[in-house]
C-alpha cells in the first residue's frame, strides 16, 4: 500500500442509543481504489459523512494527507470530492450550469472552468444535453452528472457513496469506466456499495463493515482465502477404501460422505478435481456427477457477518 492519504483511527459515532460507528480504523493509500462494503445500516454513509467533514466524530481521529482533519479545515475540503448516495445536483439548472456552479465554489474560473466543464460533459456523455435542465434527465444521466459534479474541481480523494443506485446497466458501466479512469489518473477513490460485484470488480482492497465495525480489511484474494472451496462428487460402485483414497489426494482438507457420494473441503478445487477423476478411473468407480463451490466475497461476507449482504 502506498503511504496513506486517509487514516481512520478508532472512530466512534453514536446517534442517540444507536451506535453507528464503533471504533472504526482503516487506512487508504494514495492512488488506491478502496471498497467499503456493508449492508444498509452498517455505518458506511456515517463514515463517509465524517470523512467528508459533514459530521463530527464522537471519538477517534481522521487524518487526511498526513494531517488531522477537522470540519473547519476548509483547505483540506478542497482536496476532497464527494459523490453522495442521493443525487446532489440542481434539477432546475442545466448540466453545464450545475458543473459551472460547483466548479466556481471550488475556485475554478474563466477559461479553465469552461474547459473543465466541457471535458467532464464529454467524459460522462452529456455534451449533447449540456444545456438541458438536469431535472429532465434519466436516472442514469443524473448519476453521471452527479459524478462529474463531484470531480469538477479535480479532487485528490474521491468518496463515492453508492454511486450506481437506481441506474441502468449502460450508465452503470459508464460510471465504472469513469471511476476507473479517475483512479488511473491518480485520484484515490473510496467506493462504498452494497453491490458486491461492483466492489469486487473495481476495488483492490476492501473493508467489510457491519454494525459499525470493520470486520475485515484486505485485498480480495486474501479475503477469499478466509473460506475454503468445496468439491462434491457423486459416484456409483465405489470399492471399499475409496473414501480414504480421496482423502489422500493433496489439497483435500477433509472429506465427509454424502447421500450419493462425498463432499471434499479443498484449498483449490481445480487440481483436486483432476485427481478425483483419476482416482475414479483407477478404482473402476463410476463418476456420475461433480459440482464445485468456490469462495466468493458474498460467502466471505456471510461467513463474517452471519447474514446476507442484502438482508
Amino acid at each position: 500500500m502506498q503511504p496513506p492519504v486517509l487514516e481512520v483511527v478508532g472512530v466512534r459515532k453514536r446517534y442517540g442509543r444507536t451506535i453507528a460507528l464503533d471504533g472504526v480504523s482503516l487506512a487508504v493509500g494514495a492512488g488506491e481504489m478502496f471498497g467499503l462494503l456493508g449492508p444498509n445500516g452498517a455505518g458506511k454513509t456515517t463514515l463517509i459523512s465524517i470523512l467528508c467533514a459533514l459530521t463530527d466524530t464522537d471519538a477517534g481521529e481522521v487524518r487526511l494527507f498526513g494531517r488531522p482533519f477537522r470540519r473547519s479545515d476548509r483547505e483540506a475540503r478542497r482536496l476532497i470530492g464527494i459523490g453522495t448516495q442521493d443525487l446532489s445536483i440542481y434539477p432546475d439548472l442545466s448540466a453545464r450550469e450545475n458543473l459551472r456552479f460547483f466548479g466556481k465554489l471550488y475556485g475554478l474560473r474563466g477559461g479553465e472552468l469552461e474547459k473543465r466543464v466541457d471535458e467532464l460533459l464529454s467524459s460522462v456523455g452529456l455534451s449533447d444535453r449540456a444545456g438541458d435542465r438536469a431535472g429532465t434527465f434519466s436516472g442514469g444521466m443524473k448519476r453521471r452528472l452527479n459524478l462529474a459534479a463531484a470531480v469538477v474541481h479535480r479532487p485528490k480523494l474521491l468518496f463515492l457513496d453508492e454511486p450506481t443506485t437506481g441506474v441502468d446497466p449502460q450508465s452503470r458501466n459508464h460510471i465504472f469506466e469513469q471511476v476507473k479512469a479517475l483512479n488511473t489518473a491518480g485520484v484515490t477513490v473510496v467506493y462504498t456499495s452494497h453491490y458486491m460485484e461492483e466492489v469486487q470488480k473495481l476495488c483492490r482492497r476492501i473493508a467489510i463493515l457491519e454494525g459499525g465495525k470493520v470486520l475485515a480489511c484486505d485485498t480480495l484474494p486474501v479475503l477469499l482465502k478466509l473460506l475454503d472451496a468445496t468439491v462434491r462428487v457423486a459416484v456409483a460402485g465405489a470399492p471399499p477404501g475409496f473414501a480414504d483414497q480421496l482423502a489422500a489426494i493433496p489439497g483435500v482438507k477433509s472429506i465427509k460422505p454424502a447421500a450419493d457420494g462425498f463432499q471434499l473441503v479443498v484449498d483449490d478445487a481445480a487440481p483436486v478435481l483432476a485427481k478425483v477423476a483419476m482416482t475414479c478411473a483407477a478404482t473402476g468407480t463410476e463418476l456420475t456427477a461433480v459440482s464445485t463451490r468456490e469462495p466468493t466475497l458474498e460467502r466471505v461476507f456471510l461467513h463474517l457477518t452471519g447474514r446476507e449482504l442484502r438482508d
Partner: protein
Amino acid sequence: MPVLILALKDLRLLLRDPRSAVILLLMPLVLVLVLGLALGEGFGQKPDDRLRISVVNLDRGLAKYPAFPSKPWSEVVMDDLSGTADIRLEVIPDRAEAERLIARNKRATVIVFEPDFSERMDRCSFLTHADPPPLNPLGRDGVRLGDVGVILLADPTQPVAASVIEQVAQVTMLRVVVPWMIGRAFDRVGDEAFMGMLAAQLEKVKPIPPAVLTELDPVVQKLLAALFADPDFGQMLRKEFGAFGAEAIKTQMPQFRKLIQQAFRNEALMARVGTNISFGEVMTPAVRKQVGPRVQDEIQETFSNYNFRAKTWAGLTKSEAREGAEKNRTTYAADAEGTGLLKRGAVRYQILVPSYTVMFAFFLVLTVGWLFVVERKHGTLTRLRAAPLSRGQILLGKLLPCLAVSLFQGFFLLLAGRLVFGMSWGSHPWLLIPVVACTSAAAVGLAMLVASVARTETQVAVYGTLLVLVLGGVSGSLMPRELMPEPMKQASLVTPHAWALDAYSQLLGNPHPELTVVTTACLVLLGFGAVFLALAWWRLDLE
C-alpha cells in the same frame, strides 16, 4: 466571492420558479385589482358622522391685506366652517367638478366663493356712504349671499340636506359678516371724521342755549382763579399795566369774578350773549381729538361683555376660537373614485397597494422556506456543506438573493400600483425606497426564521401561510388600520407589518407626511429584521 456565487445560483433558481412569481407578484396584483373593483369610494375611511360642507373657492383675494383680514375672506369663512363642531370642510378644486358632483347627486349643496368675494366682503359696512361704496348684505333671512359673491349650487333631489347646508352657510356668514361690520362701524365711532360730522351737526345748534352758558360759569371761574394765581400772568399784568395797575386789577378781581358769575346766571343776558355763538364752536378740533377716543372707550366699557373692535365672532363675543380647523379640512380628489374600468387613481388604491405590498412581502417566508427544503431534498445542501464554505457563507448566500427578490417585489408592486392602478407616490416618493428596503429586511429575517423551523414543503406551506395571514390580519393589512379600534391598533405594533403600513400611510396618504413616523417605522423594521435573523442564525440547522 463564494457568497456571490451562491446568491447568483439561488437568484437564478428563484427566477425559474413560477411559484414565487405567482405568489410574490401576481397574487397581490390580482387581489388589489379585485378589491379595487369591488370596494366603494369610502374604503379605508372611518365612517364620518360629521356634516360635510363642500366649497369651491374661486376668490382671488384682496390686492393688499390690512391687519384684518390678513388673508382672503374666503379663507376666513372656511376657517369658521371647519372650526365648527361636527362639520368637516371639503374643498373642491373647481366649479365644473362641483356641478358634476351635484348633477350626479353626490353632493346636496356646494358653496361657491366667487372671484370677487373678498372685494365684496371688504365693502360690507353699516355706513351709508363710503369709498368704495359700502355694501349692506344683511337682510330678512340673514346674509344675502348673492350680494357678497357666494353662490349655492344645490341638488334639487336633496332639498332637506341642501336646506341644512344653506342654514349652516348662513350661520357662518353671519358669524363672519356681523362682527366685521360691527368692528368697522365701531372704528368710526369717535374718529376724526365722525367727530367732525358731530361738530358740524352741533354748528347748527345756534344760538347756544343760555343754560349751557350758565353751566359753563364754574369753568370760567376756575379759569380766572387759576389765571390770576399764576406768577407768569402777574408779570404779564405788571408789564401791561405797571405795578400799580396790576395790583389794582388783582385787588378788584374778586368783585369782577362775582360780577361774571351774576352775569352767567342771568338767563336773559346769556340768551343775548349766546345769540351769535353755535354749540358746535365748543367742539374745536382739539376738543374733538380729546373727546373722540374717549367716546369709543366709554361705549366699549358700557358694553364690556363684547369687544366691538374685534371684527371676528370669537373676538366680538369674547369666546375662545376653535382649534384644529386645518384637520377638519380636506381637499376633494377629483379622481377619488377613479376612472376607467380599473377605477385608476381611486383613493382606495392608496390603501390597497401598500397593504398588499406589505402582506405579500412576508409571503417571502414560503419562497425562502421552499428554497431551503428543496436544497435539502435534492441533497445539494450536503454538497454545499462538504464544499469549502462556512455556515455563514451558506446562509448569507441564501439571504442575499431573497433580499434582492423582496426588494424587487416591493418596487415592482409600487410601480405596478402607479402604472396599473394610477396610485400616487405621495409628496416624498424617494422616501418609499427606505420603507421598501426596511420592510424587505424584516421580511427576509422572518423568512429565514421560518426556514429554520420548517423541515418539509408542507411545513413551510402551513407555518408560512398561517403566519403571514395571522400577521396580516392582526396588523391591518387585510383591513385598513384606520378602521381598527385604538387598543387593537396599538397591539398590532407587535407585528412588523403594522410599522410598515404606518410608514406607507404617512407617505401615500398624508400630503404633509410626518417624517419622524417614517423614520421610526424604518428603524423598528430593521430591528425586527435583526432579531429574526439572530433567531434564525441560532436555530437554523444545515445538517
